[in-house]
Each structure stands twice: as structure tokens, then as C-alpha cells.
Point group: C2
Chain length 644, copies 2
């Protein structure tokens, strides 16, 4: 059988990655079907209801006056339009008149509220109209970005263009004020997001000026003396400490950074700018090689919700905003259109299957903004007992229904609604299978639609079957995740074995496919004991338990002893079972572990003595669904060094 | 040979511990002679000069006016009188006209500044006279306490009573205002200290009213509705959340707490109040069994400079104020007058030989206020690079010459000046040898002065010789430290072996001593590998290296690799040598250790690989004397569990 593992090259001339939209794909079963059903059935409405209750929709009437409750917030529109975007992704798959009615009502309010010149922001209309476009720190352009994304999504899903008209009119105003007239009080957004939204608008409308505006914002960043920052922080916080092309380490507010990098990747791709692509890769590498938690969490400190320094990955105070991991996945997805390297999909899955999904409860209606690696309820209890002035910042222990700054819930909605964006991309006559999911749909190669049917229980199981439903000669590049041993992975086409020798994470299967050909990928989903780099001082001596892309953790509710002191052994057999938590079936691991005996002595030069015990582990994303208890992700190693 | 290990009983009727003052003892050599020479030769003047430069002495002229530099601070007098107290302890041993001239000048200023009614506080005279005795949070009584202690010390050393008159007059005013008239704006001090000072004044003058006032302050604490706290904190911060007799855990600001407990112990002892003594013991036990670092550091959080919760002993953010460990030693010294239990001297030595001495540089002129267990200069560098609003609180990496709040430097001076207070105590016809030091002097038994000469290089060596220079029948209770294996300790009298079977830490040698009898204590000064209780989550998997009372640490300057990742083995041979740092000879340990290989990979399911290396350790108190580098006290264990 002919198998060509052809390295397709990374130069932007040779490799022309194209996104295959989720619109072409229907998630038909497996892990993501259940998630999408939950999001469609529960999350969408739960977020809507919380936004309703907190006045975010009422604010769109622009009739708030001093003394009234629910004063509009500078970025409330972004919450609304992100929710619309999420809802639209579900409407894309199944229209729903009642849901559309709700959205149309909101769109109507925005239409009516929008000013003649296109301006649209409740806070800067009813609270501080005089401050409009003068305070860089105040998220007007961030909100505009989400408006653009929501509007495109709703137009695509329904053909209704009212919101798109609102967005375009506003974008045109922003283009004039910022790029053409320079009449605003600052030059680039304090909170990035509009860059990637403008690139999307450019692609959707074909209007060059939106790309020009995105380009203007990206290229001006870090060069303008008019660009202020918060009084308590620095230009790094807003990625304005250097021109973006000189930024080679990920700094400042992590969500802002990753939205910016996403926009930069869009621009690099669009303009085939290799230098800018190189900067994006350097930033990506800095994140995943020095600044990312094993759960794909980023932004290790709550101080500025920001990146800190290389190898600084504290466990209890890990900030790891849910939105930051969403943004990391979005950035990675853009990067794989620039370069065919499995490291991007690896990072995307690390983020998605751990921190992103950990950001929402199994019930679908409660959310984490922060995603720590360990929690100690004693520490929270002490902290809670302290007066305000002596409290430290600690992550909460149970998910909340809504936050004052509630960006994460609608972000999750739109992310899961469009999750199939992560399945396929193409370059020339190659179809890349990036993230395996159970779904059916088409990818376009040379103007021809190829129907592919993917069947898998990934990430719980390692088997993936891809049925080629359209005959043709093309290449399918199968991703072999970085965590999978290529020697143990098995690939077959119609039962015939293919050598699994991935090139930068992909095995290229190049052939003339007959209709019904079946590609079978068997990934070795073994439990792995993973250590962090010796430079990660917080994790020295510890190891995590990982299976496929899923990081496991232990909770006190399952393990009635001191989790921080438990020790595991690399060689231990691991037992895999399924268990149902809150109606959701999850994989559960059990393994032998050891712990020291409890004692009244604070310090001892005699060993405290050791006892064998069982350690029960659940996926990190499933923690905190059964009340408050201790949780940890990194365990001591019985064999100290773990150096084998 | 007759040896009676008689348990002398702990009830306050049977056991009547009496302090043997440092005044009776001269430190003649060994560890403390060098320290006292340094403090007399360098520290005393260095602290004086810094206080001079910062206006603390000028402020005593009480002529500051708005617009002038160096506005007096609410507790500047306490810095001055604590320095006088320290200087007086050295004068006690050797008069010095030039030094006394300096002190007399300061005393003169205070005499002239004191008001007719006795009031004395620069801030509340020249800055806010109207607020006098109205703000509990503002340290007036704390300063008065230190004035009393300084005045007694100076009077005892020189026979000059001018400062004592000032102190007594002020104490009388405080007695009237607080105890008799209740005319102040609050009832008990926000920062304790005066309680123990009043007990000292009572003992020195014999005036019952000072004890009554101490008693009033102690008994009223936690019962008054007029006792406010800082707006940012709570009553726990000032140990006012409960009546003191109901306080069984150490809470709030650690220095305040330990000064209070010291005063409570004084009162319990004086009044033979067993209930109060029991409370003191419960507080002590809570500290040493749940809340104390291995270095005798206490007050684990900078938030409120306070105790936190049981087993919360973080390494990098350990606050461990130098003054808190001094106060812990002072409290322990009072407790051994209530109960003959070696746990008190054990804790005192843990504090003294680690955190207290770590609070000052080997050069004698620079100080730490905070004493962390580990430092990572990368973390400090990142933090230093951040804008003010995003900084975290981190301990400094190099000792400072003076602080805005510079309580620790003069506290060290007075503490080291009177260190021989820790040598002996008596009860009936028993002499207790608590902390071994090289010194000669008398203890009083039944009105008879017994001359004892102690020769030792403790804590660097375990041999102690005690020469009885006065014949008589009495008991010498020899402390066998908790860390010492009684089986390996050797005791002889004139070469004849005594069974070492300590009762609560003491071996009672009861006999008719002839002049010249020589007691020889040989303590097994082995290097010990010490683990912390499994509940100390920050220390799970780690061990400390301890020799006698001295905790060792490793610095980057001696060990060119990642200290956090180094692993030691309980069984390793430890090599002991002497090395000179900044003119001071210190013991240095070297032992085999292991570390993982460096790597570019952030996470790996394959072991990073192990290398053998040498670990060089110095006493914790000697760290940060050779520039900035990484430091750690707790090392990973090669054999994971360390469970033997």
C-alpha cells in the first residue's frame, strides 16, 4: 500500500492552511454531542437568564438614569453579543423561532440605541458620554469586537442582517475615528479583541478597510505615546511595551494577549507575513514551553490576570482564567493554518479538555473564572474568616451562576457551539484532522466537497474511524498527539496497516480514496505519569496523572486523607472505570498510593511511617461538582526523584 | 554514685521557678562571646547612627513643626528606649562614660519633654495632641512599656534613676487614666508590651499598683466594647476577640500576641494562677505543635504580620518577624519558671539559633524584619519589575540598615545583651541549666550564691562542662534537648557516669557537690534529617537538615543548580567542616544529593534523568551574607516518602 509521509513544508507559500468551518460539520455523537446538548439545553438559557436578571439586556434600552439600579457597565454589550454569537452557532445547526425572537428583541434594542454616526455603548451613552473614545482602558473597542463577531455569526446562521448592519456601521465609525482621523483620545485598544473580529469581518464582507483597520491597530500597538494604561499597572499589561513584532515573550493580561496574538496570526496568515508569523510562533512557544499549566491554563497570577515569568506555575494561586484557555485554543487553531505542526493542536486540546471544560459545571449552569491546580478548603476557610483588609486573593471553591465580570460563561457558549472548528483544516489537497471528534460533514478541497464521517469516543477512548464518503485523490494528514507514542499508535486504511511515522505530529496518507474507505486511528490512551520541568519550583518532586489529553485530579470527597501528602508510583497499575457524576459519565482512575501516618508531632527526625492506600482520580474538568473538598492535580512521587 | 532523677512536680506550689538574671553571669567565651563582642562593637553604634540619621533622637526635643523633616512617629520612643535597654545590658557588664553620655543626653531630652502629668510621646505632643489616649491602635502604651523596660535596665546598670523617674511618672499617669479613672478613649493597649513591662516594674519597685495595672490590662482585654481595632482588621489581630483566659489558639499579630502571653505568664507565675498558666501552656503548645516554623519563626503571613491557621507554614511568603521569634523566646523563658519542661527551652533555642540570629547580618549592622524559609531571586526580580499596583508582598533578599518600622534592630541588641538570662533558673534547691552557654557566674539557692563555670562551644559542639565552684547540697537539673537522643547523650560527674533518663527534658543530679566538681554533658550533635507533619501541605515530600538546634539551609552561591529540585537521602553521610564567612567561623555541612537533569521540555512522561551532586549547607542564620542567590531550607527526599 502506498503511503507517503510527505512533509508539506512550513513556508507560507507552500502551506496554505484554510479553516474548515464548524458550519460544514455536524457533531453526531460522543463526547461533544453530550456537551453541545447540555449547552443548548441548559447553558444558553442559564446565561441568558443571569444576564437578564443583572440588567445587561435592560441596559440596551439606553434609558438608565442616575439613581436607577444596574448601571450599565463599560463592556456589558460584549456579554450580550458573545451570548448572541454562541446562540447563533446553535441556530446554525437548528433554527429556533423562539430563540431568534429573543435575539431579535436584543438586536432591535441595539439598532434603536445606535447613534446616527454608528456609536454603540450604553455606558458611554447614558453614564459618561463625554468620555467616549478617550479612555483606552475602558473596553469600548473590545465590546465592538464582540459585536462584530456576534453579528457575523447571527447573519450566517439566520440570514438576518440587522445586527450586522449595526456592527458594520460601528466598525466604519471606528475606522474613521481611529485609522483615518486619529480623532480619538488614544490609538489602540486597551483590551484587544477587535483585531481578530475585524479580520473576520474583512473575510466575511471582503471589505479591505477592515483588514486595514486591524492592521493599523496591530502595527500601531506599542508605538503610540497617546496610549495610556491603568494607573496601577504598566504597558506590558496591555501588550503595549513594545511594537508587536518585537514581543517575543507572552506578557501582561493573558486574555488580552491571546486575543491579540490571534489577530496577529490572522493577519500574518492573510498577508503571508513570515516575520509576523515567526513572532506568533515565538509567543506560542514561550507560552507552551515555559508558561502554561499542564491543564492548558495560562496567566498564572491574579495580579493583573496576567502571565508572570518563565516556569512560574504556582498551584493554589493559579489564576488560569477560563477565557484565557479559550483564547489559547483560538490562537492555536489560527497557528495551525500557518504551520502544520501538531504542537498547536496539542496545546488546544490541553486547554479545551481541562481548563476550558473545568470552567463550567457538569450541570451546565455554573462557572469558574479561575481554575487553580489545587485547593485547600482550610486555606479558604481561614481567608473567609478574615477581615477584608487581611484577605488574600484565592480562587473560589464552587462555581458561580454569574460574575460581575461575566465574560467566561458566554465565551464557553460560543466556544462549544463552534467546537467543530477544531476538527479539520485544509491546505491544497490535504485535509488535516486536528482534533478528533464524532461528527459528519464536508471539507472543501480544490472547490470539491469531500464528505467525511468521523466516529470516536475520543478523548475517553483512543479509537478514531474516519470514513471517506467522497471518492477522490487527496491527502489526509492524521494528527498523532504529542502525548501518544507513535510506536504504539496503529493506523490502518481499510484494515491495512500504515507505518505511523509522524512528521511534526501528522501522518500524511496520500492516495486515491474510494467512497467508503475507512481510516482507523488507534491512539494508545495509556495513563501517563507526567513530571514538570525541574525549573518549575512549585512542582519539583511531584507528578500528574494524565490520560490522553485529560489531566486527572483527586478530590477529598473520594480520598479521605491528606491529598498533598499522598505519593504515587510511576509503575503502579491504573484501573479505569466509568462513573456517573451529576448525570455525566466520566472516566475514573484508581491506583495504589502511599501516605504518611498522621501524627501530633510537628517536626520529627524519625519517619512518620507509611501506609498504603488507594487514590481515586477524576478528570480535572469534573472537579468541584460534589461540594467543597480538597483537590490536587500534582502528587508526590513515592520514588522521590522519579528518575527511574 | 547516687543519682536521683526526681520529678520536681509541675504544680505551682511545688515548683517555684525563679529567673537567674544575666547580671549574675559573664559570658566568657564560645558562641555568645563573639556575638556579644560584635553587638557591643558594631550593632549598638550602627543602630544608634541609623536612629540618629532618621530623626528618632531629634524627635525627643519635641520641637517638630509642620513642614519640618522627620515627623515623629507614634512609636519612635520605643525604638529609642529599646536601644537604651540594649546598651544598658552591655553597660551592666562594663561601664562606659562616653556611651552613658549619649544615653544621658537622650534621657535629658525625655525628662525635659515629659509633661507635668507624666505624659511622654512626641507624636501625640507635637503632631496630634488632641488624639492622646484616644486611639487604641496607636502604640502609646506599647511605647510606654519599652520606656519602662529601658529605664529599669539603665537604672540597674548605672544606678542613674532619671529615666526610671520618667518611666514611673508616666506609668502612674497611665494607671490613673486607665485603671482608676477610665478616662482614656479605650481600655486596653492595641499593641501589647506594657503588661510584661509593668510586671517588671512591679518586681523592681515592689509597688503593687503596677501589677494591678498589668492585671487590669490583661483581664480587661477581650471584654471591652470601647476597644477598637484597625478599620482593615479584626479583634483577633489585637488578641481582643475573647477574654484572654478563653484564648487557646495563637491568633493575630504575632509580636503583640507573644508579648501579651509573656505578660500573662508573668502574672500567672506571680499570682500562682494555675488556670492562667494553663492558658499560657495551651497557647505555647498551639504555637510549637501547629504554627511554628522549624526555625522557630512564627507569624506565617505578612497580612497583619500574624499567625494564620494550624499547619499553614508556607516557605516563600513566611513572614516570621525577627521580633516575633525574640518574643517567643521571651515567652518560653517565662514558661519554664512555671513548669519544668524542656519543651520551653527547646522552642527558645529553635527561635534564638535560627530566626533571631538570622535577623542580623554577620557584619552586625544590617537586619531582616522577615525571615522566609526559601527565596527565589527570579520571583523577586519579576516582582520588582512590576508596577506598584501589581506587586505582591515578598521578603527582601538582603538585610537593610534600618527600616521605617525598625523595631527589630534594637530588640536584637537588648536580647543578645541579656542572653545569659537563658542559662539558669532555680526552683527551691534546684538549679536548672536551660540553654548551655560558655559563661561564669552565680545562681542563688536559699540565699546562697553558688558559683558555676560553664565551658562549651555549644551550639556548634555538644560538649558542656559545668564546674561547681561553690560546695553545697543541691540539685542541678541538666537539660537534655528534645532533639538529642537520651540514649546517646553522656553525663558524668567527675568522670563518673550518670544514667541519662530525662524527666520532661531534664536530668536531675542531686548531691552534695564539692568545690571543683565537674559535670560533663555530652550531647550527641548528629545531623538529623527532619520531616514536617503530613498536615503541613507546603512541606510534604521535603526534609530539613538540622544539627543540634541549628537548622541548615542551602544557598545558590554554594550550589550552582536548582535548589528546589535537589533531593537528599536520610542515610547519606554528612561531612562537617568549618568555614569563615565575613570573618565569622561557621559550621558547613556537605552531603551527597541528587538532581534532575535540565531540559527544554515543560512536561514529560519520561523521567528527566538524575545526576548526583554535592549539597553544601550553612546555618540558616548565616544566609544572605554573600549577595543575592536562591536559598532553601526544605529539600526533596530521594526516597520519596522518607518513610524508611
Amino acid at each position: 500500500m502506498a503511503v507517503n509521509n510527505i512533509w508539506k513544508g512550513t513556508t507560507m507559500e507552500k502551506y496554505t492552511g484554510e479553516q474548515n468551518s464548524f458550519k460544514n460539520i455536524t457533531i453526531t455523537g460522543g463526547f461533544w454531542k453530550k456537551k453541545q446538548d447540555l449547552f443548548r439545553g441548559v447553558t444558553m438559557e442559564a446565561v441568558y437568564d443571569r444576564f437578564e436578571e443583572t440588567g445587561r439586556f435592560e441596559a440596551l434600552k439606553f434609558n438608565w438614569k442616575e439613581g436607577m439600579p444596574n448601571r450599565p457597565h463599560i463592556f456589558w454589550e460584549s456579554d450580550v453579543t458573545k451570548w448572541i454569537e454562541g446562540a447563533a452557532y446553535f441556530l446554525q445547526k437548528r433554527r429556533d423561532p423562539l430563540l431568534e425572537e429573543k435575539i431579535d428583541e436584543l438586536v432591535g434594542r441595539m439598532e434603536r440605541a445606535q447613534e446616527e454616526n454608528g456609536y454603540l455603548n450604553a455606558y458611554f451613552t447614558v453614564v459618561e458620554p463625554e468620555a467616549r473614545f478617550t479612555r483606552r482602558t475602558d473596553h469600548e473597542l473590545y465590546s465592538a469586537g464582540h459585536l462584530i463577531e456576534g453579528a457575523i455569526a447571527y447573519a450566517q446562521a439566520t440570514g438576518k442582517n440587522a445586527l450586522l448592519r449595526v456592527a458594520v456601521t460601528y466598525a466604519d465609525l471606528i475606522d474613521r475615528v481611529f485609522r483615518i482621523e486619529h480623532s480619538a483620545g488614544f490609538d489602540t485598544p486597551g483590551h484587544e479583541e477587535i483585531e481578530l473580529a475585524l479580520m473576520k469581518l474583512y473575510r466575511y464582507t471582503g471589505e479591505e478597510r477592515y483588514k486595514a483597520l486591524a492592521e493599523y491597530f496591530i502595527n500601531t500597538r506599542g508605538t503610540s505615546e497617546r496610549d495610556e494604561t491603568y494607573s496601577f499597572t504598566d504597558q506590558e499589561h496591555m501588550q503595549s511595551h513594545l511594537p508587536v513584532r518585537k514581543q517575543l515573550t507572552a506578557e501582561g493580561h493573558s486574555v488580552r494577549a491571546l486575543y491579540l496574538y490571534s489577530g496577529m496570526a490572522d493577519l500574518a496568515k492573510e498577508n503571508k507575513e513570515e516575520d509576523l508569523a515567526g513572532v506568533c510562533e515565538a509567543l506560542f512557544d514561550n507560552i507552551v514551553n515555559q508558561r502554561m499549566y499542564i491543564t492548558g491554563g495560562v496567566g498564572s497570577t491574579h495580579r493583573g490576570e496576567s502571565f508572570s515569568f518563565d516556569y512560574d506555575l504556582p498551584e493554589y494561586t493559579a489564576y488560569n482564567e477560563t477565557c484565557a484557555s479559550i483564547a489559547l485554543a483560538l490562537f492555536a487553531r489560527r497557528m495551525w493554518l500557518i504551520e502544520a505542526d501538531g504542537k498547536y493542536a496539542d496545546a488546544a486540546e490541553q486547554a479545551i479538555y481541562n481548563t476550558v471544560l473545568g470552567g463550567i459545571s457538569i450541570s451546565g449552569d455554573s462557572f469558574f473564572y479561575e481554575n487553580p491546580m489545587s485547593v485547600d478548603p482550610r486555606r479558604n476557610a481561614f481567608n473567609d474568616s478574615r477581615p477584608e483588609g487581611l484577605k488574600e486573593h484565592l480562587p473560589i471553591l464552587e462555581r458561580a451562576k454569574v460574575f460581575g465580570c461575566s465574560c467566561c460563561p458566554p465565551n464557553l457558549l460560543r466556544f462549544v457551539g463552534s467546537i467543530a472548528d477544531f476538527m479539520y483544516a485544509t491546505s491544497g489537497s490535504t485535509v488535516f484532522t486536528h482534533c478528533y471528534m464524532n461528527g459528519t460533514g464536508t471539507v472543501s478541497i480544490g472547490g470539491r466537497e469531500i464528505l467525511l464521517e468521523q466516529k470516536t469516543e475520543y478523548p475517553y477512548e483512543g479509537d478514531v474511524q474516519i470514513l471517506v464518503k467522497t471518492a477522490g485523490t487527496f491527502t489526509i494528514a492524521l494528527r498523532i498527539p504529542g502525548w501518544a507514542s507513535a510506536e504504539k499508535a496503529e493506523l490502518t486504511v481499510n484494515g491495512e496497516k500504515i507505518v505511523c511515522a509522524p512528521v511534526k505530529g501528522y501522518v500524511y496518507v496520500d492516495r486515491s480514496f474510494a467512497q467508503g474507505d475507512c481510516i482507523h486511528v488507534k491512539l494508545p490512551l495509556e495513563t501517563r505519569i507526567v513530571e514538570a520541568n525541574p525549573r518549575v519550583s512549585d512542582l519539583c518532586g511531584r507528578a500528574a496523572v494524565v490520560r490522553g489529553p485529560i489531566v486527572f485530579c483527586a478530590e477529598g470527597i473520594d480520598n479521605a486523607y491528606l491529598l498533598r501528602d499522598v505519593r504515587i508510583q510511576r509503575e503502579s497499575a491504573v484501573n479505569l472505570e466509568r462513573e456517573t457524576i451529576g448525570g455525566m459519565e466520566i472516566p475514573v482512575l484508581t491506583m495504589k498510593a502511599w501516605k504518611r501516618k498522621e501524627s501530633a508531632v510537628l517536626y520529627s527526625d524519625k519517619p512518620y511511617g507509611e501506609e498504603e492506600t488507594q487514590l481515586k482520580l477524576i478528570p480535572y474538568f469534573a472537579w468541584a461538582n460534589r461540594g467543597v473538598s480538597e483537590m490536587t492535580t500534582w502528587f508526590l512521587q513515592k520514588d522521590g526523584t522519579g528518575c527511574g
